[in-house]
Symmetry: C2
Subunit: 317 residues, 2 copies
DNA sequence: GGCCAGCCACAACGAACAGTTGGGCACGCA
DNA sequence: TGCGTGCCCAACTGTTCGTTGTGGCTGGCC
């Protein structure tokens, strides 16, 4: 493919061969093979070189596209100077949606969004330390437990919405206050015990006297959707920005929670020394997100004066 | 690459091998080779199959991208059912710009824009007849000379603008009427004698008493730009929609010509029977272009009642 | 018109590669 | 402990790739 592109650009197989470090015969054979496999003539041969046929002209941009795709693929994983790799909890989470928004406005960024598939934030910290990932959306609720060479900053806050089926008594509400959620059963499956999310829901239950059922295995979002669609008394909480559950299916309703807005604070951890150069722009992007509606409720670790507040500024500078 | 993608999707080399019609060992070797060449581990092997590593996750979308690129490249030239292939006079001409606009609003179209690199419109007609191209932006000024199995319709009109350097006496005009061009030297190099463009400029000279110098070889747009930028008395005509000359270079000015607007009519020729199915949408797109400002001047072959006017409607239906 | 230079295609050969079969190891399960 | 599954490794073979050597074609030049 590269031989074809260079030959088309230079107009001579000989020159392309010199550039690619092979003999002219090799390039000739490569292109002959390509033509045979495609069952199409790509060049007209003249005494002064080669010239693209119409088929060749049509093929050329596709060939260039493939080559740049291959190059991007290689740079994405080349050890050392690879694309910016960020770990998110799920590919349809609010974190991933925000990253996708960033990428759409900066499509030149070589950005790779991956999921570590581990629950323990300490494993994510280890992956950051080892250089396997450049950053991870995780929260260490005890900042003292963070190693010195890993930095954590507050990224943005993700407001929660109630997701209910059409038969639920709150289904027709346009907004809800936390106190109106009292007595209703809220089902949030798949929360690992002692994880950051478990601590978040614990505080929510304590502060607003809610009834959150965080136990039970997570059978996947399809099961959750089915349950919600059929049930008249089960609701769940989802992030306003995430794309886990598309509300048009099953006639599910997303209802914002206000006065106060309940929000989950998302943090980003990354190496303190020599972070990936592309990371700064992402962090700056967080500042441009729509701010949380006031008043807002956040868990204690996000409202307490944060040791790393100064670092946010230095990271954004 | 396909083995990698299918193995990642199915989670087992065995299944990928079955699907690809090779042995499991072959898939294993392919992936091992890929890993060796990339110097990276793509899968973690377990007793139940394989699972993507972080590098594998990062690589997967790029691999998918490459595969779709290859598939598109093949469909672009597959004899029989290939992508819609349209011949334009130049890749930065108004014709190509309009096609590019269309493609941007319909990116799913497999569209290939090529240039036949011939001056004689009859060669373009022959290429359409032979099926090498699906359509060509050419004008046959004598419709009777068109073969019965080739159809020509009016595509759209391309208004002309005067392009001058900063020292030219008309440089600061915001618009110009054709009469103000009288006495100024207009240089339009590279017009083949007896071509459709020569006939167009002949009529322009006759109708408005202009001084158009269409002789001389075309040394390329860079030379033309240099000449215009330095000269105090040479101007040229360019299409308002084309992208041949980017006016920010050399402080060149594009000045619209109005009262009447001078426009070049562009026609499209294509096979009368069984035209490429994608062509109809392109032809419809012409109707959505901004219409020519009134009053407008067009050469005689575009203002005379056109035999093929009825065909436009049938083609657009 | 004959000759040369430049360029591409064909042929033969050795090295490398890809795919197959056969065998072995690790793991999970009854 | 035996079995099934899924992967890797080893040996073998047909194909492919790139090299060298050679010939044909074309355009320019004496």
């Amino acid at each position: 493919m590269r031989s074809f592109v260079r030959a088309a650009e230079l107009g001579q197989l000989q020159h392309a061969a010199d550039e690619l470090g092979v003999t002219q015969q090799a390039v000739s054979k490569r292109i002959a093979t390509l033509e045979r496999k495609l069952d199409v003539r790509l060049f007209t041969r003249t005494a002064r070189g080669v010239e693209l046929t119409l088929d060749g002209q049509a093929f050329l941009p596709h060939a260039r596209n493939i080559i740049t795709g291959v190059d991007r693929a290689i740079t994405a994983i080349r050890p050392g100077s690879r694309a910016l790799r960020i770990d998110v909890l799920g590919l349809r989470s609010a974190q991933a949606v925000v990253l996708h928004d960033y990428w759409r406005s900066h499509p030149e960024t070589d950005l790779d969004v991956v999921t570590l598939r581990v629950n323990d934030p300490r494993e994510a910290v280890a992956a950051v330390q080892a250089g396997e990932i450049d950053a991870s959306f995780r929260t260490i609720t005890d900042p003292a437990a963070l190693p010195r060479d890993v930095q954590m900053i507050h990224a943005f806050d993700s407001p929660l919405e109630l997701l209910v089926g059409p038969r639920h008594p709150l289904a027709s509400a346009r907004t809800l206050t936390p106190s109106r959620l009292r007595k209703h059963r809220i089902w949030v499956p798949g929360i690992a015990p002692r994880s950051e999310w478990a601590e978040f829901y614990d505080q929510l239950v304590t502060d607003f006297d809610l009834r959150i059922d965080a136990a039970g295995p997570n059978f996947g979002n399809e099961v959750l959707q089915d349950t919600l669609a059929d049930s008249a008394d089960v609701a769940t909480l989802v992030g306003a920005r995430d794309r886990y559950i598309w509300p048009t299916n099953y006639d599910l309703r997303r209802i914002p929670i206000v006065n106060p807005t309940l929000a989950y604070p998302l943090s980003l951890i990354f190496p303190r020394t020599n972070p990936h150069p592309g990371l700064r722009a992402i962090i700056n992007h967080f500042g441009s997100l729509t701010p949380l509606p006031e008043p807002a409720w956040l868990p204690s670790w996000a409202t307490k004066p944060r040791r790393s507040d100064g670092d946010i500024e230095s990271a954004r500078r």
